[in-house]
């Protein structure tokens, strides 16, 4: 029982890290521009398909595909931001929701057209497969790798936000957009950069997710709900909040699936609604 609890905690934590990578970009961009970007997971899906195509079709090593998944998602997202999103910053929640849900529909259909509706898998190099035993408990190597990558990114993100000039501009824009503009910060440019970075991280998360949760054409829909839960519960614009919410969600989802399989996703939705009713702005939200 204890052994399984450790296993569930470990798997849940790895899953939570994945959710964190997928959602952190959305949290920051939502906090900054109040733009409800439901298409965030479409960029993650793009990253996933880039990794799958490069490893399986072109025989690239898995690790070299990760930066490309990041880049592809970042570039495509910036194109969307400049072409479509930019015009709707002043529009209502509803219009933003609709535009981005339209993009989700299109991306899901395009993925089904290009790659079919089958579950994709990715060929991992041998050093990322199998398990290692630590104190009589076996841990999946890939999950350890995933946790390592996510923790590095988290530390990097927090350091970049806290200690660089650009990070200060981002924080200023999240806190008070008008004031930041008044101080001469080009909020549009800062936002575009953050948006690209956040979507890139989603793309990276999508590529890393293939091994854990698989990838099919509906990915943009399936994980949208999870990502929104992380963002709403963690609080907008808060990296720490997203981290905490993703961890809690990952572990409780894994525990729910392991101990109460008959409940399905019921537990997750219930936890989300209760948390939101208690704190509508999220656990770490300021607004």
């Amino acid at each position: 029982m204890i052994a399984s609890a450790v296993g569930v905690l470990f798997d849940g934590f790895a899953y939570g890290m994945l959710l964190f990578l997928l959602s952190v970009g959305l949290s920051v961009t939502l906090g900054m521009m109040n733009f409800v970007n439901l298409a965030h997971c479409s960029f993650a899906m793009l990253g996933g398909y880039v990794a799958v195509t490069l490893t399986n079709e072109l025989r690239w090593p898995f690790l070299t595909t990760l930066p490309l998944a990041f880049l592809a998602a970042a570039l495509v997202s910036v194109a969307f931001e400049r072409l479509l999103y930019k015009r709707l910053y002043e529009a209502s929640d509803l219009e933003q929701c609709l535009l981005t849900i339209g993009i989700v529909f299109v991306s899901v259909a395009a993925a089904a057209y290009l790659f079919g509706t089958v579950q994709q898998s990715v060929a991992l190099p041998s050093y990322l497969r199998g398990t290692v035993a630590i104190a009589h408990q076996s841990f999946g190597v890939y999950r350890l790798f995933l946790i390592g990558v996510s923790l590095l990114i988290t530390i990097g993100l927090i350091a970049a936000l806290e200690y660089t000039r650009f990070g200060a501009q981002v924080r200023a824009a999240v806190d008070n957009q008008r004031m930041a503009r008044g101080l001469g910060i080009d909020v549009g440019r800062v936002f575009a950069t953050t948006f690209a970075l956040g979507s890139g991280l989603a793309g990276l998360g999508g590529a890393l997710a293939v091994e854990i949760v698989g990838l099919d054409h509906a990915f943009a829909f399936t994980y949208l709900v999870y990502v929104l839960i992380v963002v709403a519960v963690g609080g907008l614009g808060s990296i720490g909040g997203s981290f905490a919410a993703a961890t809690v969600l990952g572990i409780s989802d894994m525990a729910g699936k392991y101990y109460f399989p008959e409940l399905g996703a019921f537990l997750i939705y219930f936890v989300m609604i209760t948390l939101l009713m208690w704190r509508p702005a999220g656990l770490f939200g300021r607004r």
Binding site: I101, F105, A112, Y113, I229, I273, L276
Partner: protein, 329 residues
Amino acid sequence: MTSGAVSEPQRYLEVRIRWQPLEIAFWLTSLLPFWLTPSYLVLASQIAITALFALSLDLILGYAGIVSLGHAAYFGFGSYTAGLIAKWGWGEPITGLAAAAVAAGLLGFLTSIIIARFRHLALIMITLGFGLLLAEAANSASWLTGGADGLQGVRIWKLLGFFPFDLYGHAAYAYSLCVLFLAFLLARRLIHSPFGLALRGIRERAIRMPAIGAQSPAHIRKIYTIAAVLAGIAGALLAQTTETVSLETLGFQRSADVLVILILGGTGRLYGGIVGAIVYMVARDQFSGINPQYWYFWIGLLLIAVVMFLPNGILGGLARLVPHRWRPA
């Protein structure tokens, strides 16, 4: 500002409540499928049901500005209520419809207490969460709902004791159209009342309404409950005319579809949902040969185009072409 005993807002509402020739023509046209396209009456009844569902969403979204991503919860709840009552041996359609309306209304009232306290992202997430929660619950309770196989063994008696729900859909369309029209009359009366004006106030500036003494949370609870009742009736109509209920009635897809339909037609103008339902359902019927995945490609493109170029939907676009005095309310 007042002339005699009639104040300015009263006069405004009086003008609004008058029936326009275009509206009467529209409802008379809705009878044409009986003679012109008798082989499409089943589709016509589906359109009427979808239109009623979209109308109910219009009441909360178009008038009170409550964005809901989980409106299918009430549709599905009404659907299952009507289906279960019929399955348990009481197949009388009209009382079944009433029971479903009461059940959905109760659920709507209970959730509205929570809904009225939130706005923006938290509101969207909570409505989404409720929808998913209910769908999950129905999936888990397969002993009651039949789970993924759907509710089997629903038998509906003849409408008013005379008209059977057959494959041709005469009774189904007449029944759905009557219910849609009655619901429309109710909605039309509601939004052309001081209560309707208060709702539009909430939509335009939620913070200001309490400042002028309006009971915004109470208004939201009321309209949300009414919308839930109408959605439940729409769901019950679907259950009764098709004699089956599937999990899909509660699904996120249905919530998203009805939102698309309403946006397509135009929000906040009563007829938007109906026009949207006609365009959407007819197009889907025509393109039913193509894979549903590719259908959503076009729907997605359409959504992007509507948001970018036609912010007020089809009716909003048409309204710009039509002279002012002909416009329906």
